[in-house]
């Protein structure tokens, strides 16, 4: 069973009165534990494909399955539930909630899932420890470096052991040394937890650390 399956995905946008075809008959299968790098020039449709994979955008046509479950025809509330259970996100700008500590940011997805306090504590501290930030759990994001923030974001994405991780340029805002650490960490954690990952990136090192790379040009996979 694939963690993510896309079939004949099409998506177009209206831009200045013209329809722009962002995705053209895209097919993609990602297995559990597999990390796929999504590359391509700017405007090729990478972000659109990530949004479609992460159930935050709806294709015009085609079929999607997450963890073996078809998502076609689901309501917005049902899609939210699916994202809550099965999908983790890592953003280029980290997107941590500034009023929550590192611990609380990582705990947030578990709160949404209604996990009990003891279970939450255990999972959060384990995950923070795994990303090397156990001693920074009580710090607010503002008191963390860029690399530390991205590690918190990775912990937040993976703490619930999702079926799929969507990462959009996760090293885009990091220096070279920190980026290497984050690439390594993301790869290790997704594999450890059996999550599939789709990572949009321009970073060659990121591409090489993935199990495979796919290239999107003008909305078509090559």
């Amino acid at each position: 069973m694939s963690s993510l399956s896309l079939k004949d995905i099409r998506k177009s946008y209206a831009l200045g009165g013209n329809a722009v075809q962002a995705l053209k008959d895209v097919d993609l299968e990602v297995r559990p534990g597999e990390m796929v790098a999504l590359t391509g020039p700017s405007g090729s449709g990478k972000s659109t494909l990530l949004n479609v994979c992460g159930l935050v955008d709806t294709p015009d046509s085609g079929r999607r399955e997450i963890a073996g479950q078809s998502v076609d025809g689901l309501s917005a509330a049902e899609l939210t539930e699916l994202r809550r259970r099965h999908i983790g996100f890592v953003f280029q700008s980290f997107n941590l909630v500034p009023v929550m500590t590192a611990y609380e940011n990582v705990e947030y997805p578990l709160l949404l899932l209604g996990k009990k306090t003891t279970e939450r504590k255990k999972l959060v501290w384990e995950t923070l420890d795994r990303v090397g930030l156990a001693e920074f759990g009580h710090r607010l994001p503002d008191a963390l470096s860029g690399g530390q923030r991205q590690r918190v974001a990775i912990a937040r994405a993976l703490v619930k052991s999702p079926a799929l991780v969507i990462a959009d340029e996760p090293t885009g805002n990091l220096d070279s040394a920190t980026a290497s650490q984050v690439i390594e960490l993301l790869g290790e954690l997704t594999r450890e937890r059996g999550a599939a990952a789709v990572v949009a990136t321009h970073d060659e090192r990121m591409t090489h650390s993935c199990d495979r790379a796919i290239r999107l040009v003008d909305g078509e996979l090559q």
């Binding site: 935050v56 509330a77 939210t80 999908i87 909630v97 500034p98 009023v99």
Partner: protein, 403 residues
């Protein structure tokens, strides 16, 4: 609890903005509580004055209330001593006082003036009237005086050049339509704070008035109760016991009280509505700015599986936290002002038609505080809901790309 803590942290994220909204809410709450408390004090005072003046329940002949008389006491009440005895036996009754309303001329030998008189029971009637009738000289007339004695309004006393101990003559039309006169001695000079009454008022013993008017009737029987709250029950009981008579409560007869209450309800109602709008705008503005600033964060939370209703709930909690803080601060200020005014002894100028001012006091009402607090919290929740509902339903991709 966790969501409330996150909301509180969000509320202090932009301290200056939240404090401004909180301060506006506090000022609005204070204004409503002080205005409302002042209105309650006024209602209470006027209620007290009205009830003390007329009695809580007033009985008369059926034709008495609203009917015209061709001759004095034509619509009077016969057999008042027996009726008073029966009424005195009702539960919660403090006193039953016969009264005669009459009018005529008062003369000092040199000049005459029109008076409006009240025949009352000596001593007892002055006891129930309380501080609204103030003696500027002399004292109430007592029972058993050899010659009729009167208490007179201060402006009328001035007009008649009368002092305590002065002799005057009352002229009135009898129940048979003839003129009758009685010589009286001034025992006390009073003011009720209303110049139009002070220059006409004459009070004397009800028995002396009956002799003057040649009648054994009285105009009304005023029933005074131990508790004003028991008025309606007692009126119903009296009506059931004496269906042949007309029964009125102090509220039926308190035209001034009702007029003031209607006026104040409108004034303070408008004030309250203005405060609601101000607080609504202040909180809406604060929450709208918070929502706009956090659109990207909303997108992130939506992406990781937060429902729009949960986003809205968090903003509502945040708005309610600011609103509740403002309401609490406003309540504290209003309570402090209430206590301060109690001891400050500030006098309001006399209202139109009166010659004496009244103390500026504000009543504390737990119900008013609770209702105001609840209203502010409801407004805050509404403002936050309005501000965040649309943003929470914005497409996630759009929210995430918000700059």
């Amino acid at each position: 609890m966790r969501w409330l803590i996150f909301s509180l942290r969000n509320a202090i994220r932009n301290k200056r903005r939240s404090l401004t909204a909180l301060a506006i809410t506090a000022v609005g709450t204070t204004a409503v509580l002080i205005g409302g408390g002042f209105a309650l004090f006024t209602y209470q005072s006027l209620r007290e004055i009205s009830a003390r003046d007329t009695g809580h329940v007033v009985l008369g002949a059926r034709e008495f209330f609203g009917g015209d008389e061709d001759l004095p006491m034509q619509n009077g009440l016969a057999g008042s001593p027996e009726l008073a005895k029966r009424l005195q036996g009702l539960p919660g009754v403090r006193a039953v006082l016969p009264r005669i309303q009459f009018s005529g001329l008062i003369s000092n030998g040199d000049k005459s003036a029109v008076f409006i008189g009240a025949g009352v029971l000596p001593e007892a009637d002055f006891r129930v009237r309380g501080p609204q009738m103030r003696f500027t000289d002399g004292e109430p007339f007592g029972a058993g005086a050899t010659a009729p004695e009167i208490v007179i309004g201060q402006d009328l006393a001035q007009l008649m050049k009368a002092k305590v101990g002065s002799g005057l003559t009352l002229l009135a039309t009898t129940t048979e339509g003839n003129l009758n006169a009685v010589d009286v001695t001034v025992r006390g000079i009073v003011t009720v704070g209303v110049p139009d009454i002070d220059k006409r008022l004459v009070m004397t013993d009800v028995a002396a008035v009956q002799r003057l008017l040649l009648t054994d009737k009285v105009s009304t029987l005023s029933v005074y109760l131990k508790e004003t709250g028991a008025t309606d029950d007692t009126a119903a009981r009296v009506h059931a016991a004496l269906p042949q008579l007309a029964v009125r409560t102090w509220l039926d007869l308190a035209v001034f009280y009702q007029a003031v209450r209607d006026l104040y309800n409108r004034i303070f109602g408008v004030l309250g509505a203005i405060m609601v709008v101000i607080v609504l705008f202040a909180l809406s503005n604060t929450m709208a700015m918070a929502v706009a600033e956090r659109t990207r964060e909303i997108g992130t939370l939506r992406a990781i599986g937060t429902h729009p209703r949960e986003i809205v709930r968090n903003f509502v909690l945040e708005g309610v936290a600011i609103g509740a803080g403002g309401a609490a601060a406003g309540m504290l200020v209003a309570a402090a002002a209430t206590v301060l005014l109690t001891f400050a002894g500030i006098q309001m100028p006399p209202p139109p038609g009166r010659s004496t001012g009244y103390p500026l006091l504000v009543n504390f009402s737990a119900a008013l505080y609770a209702a105001t607090g609840a209203a502010v919290i409801a407004i805050a929740a509404l403002a936050s809901w309005f501000a965040s509902a649309k943003a929470a339903r914005k497409p996630i991709t759009e929210a995430l790309s918000h700059v």
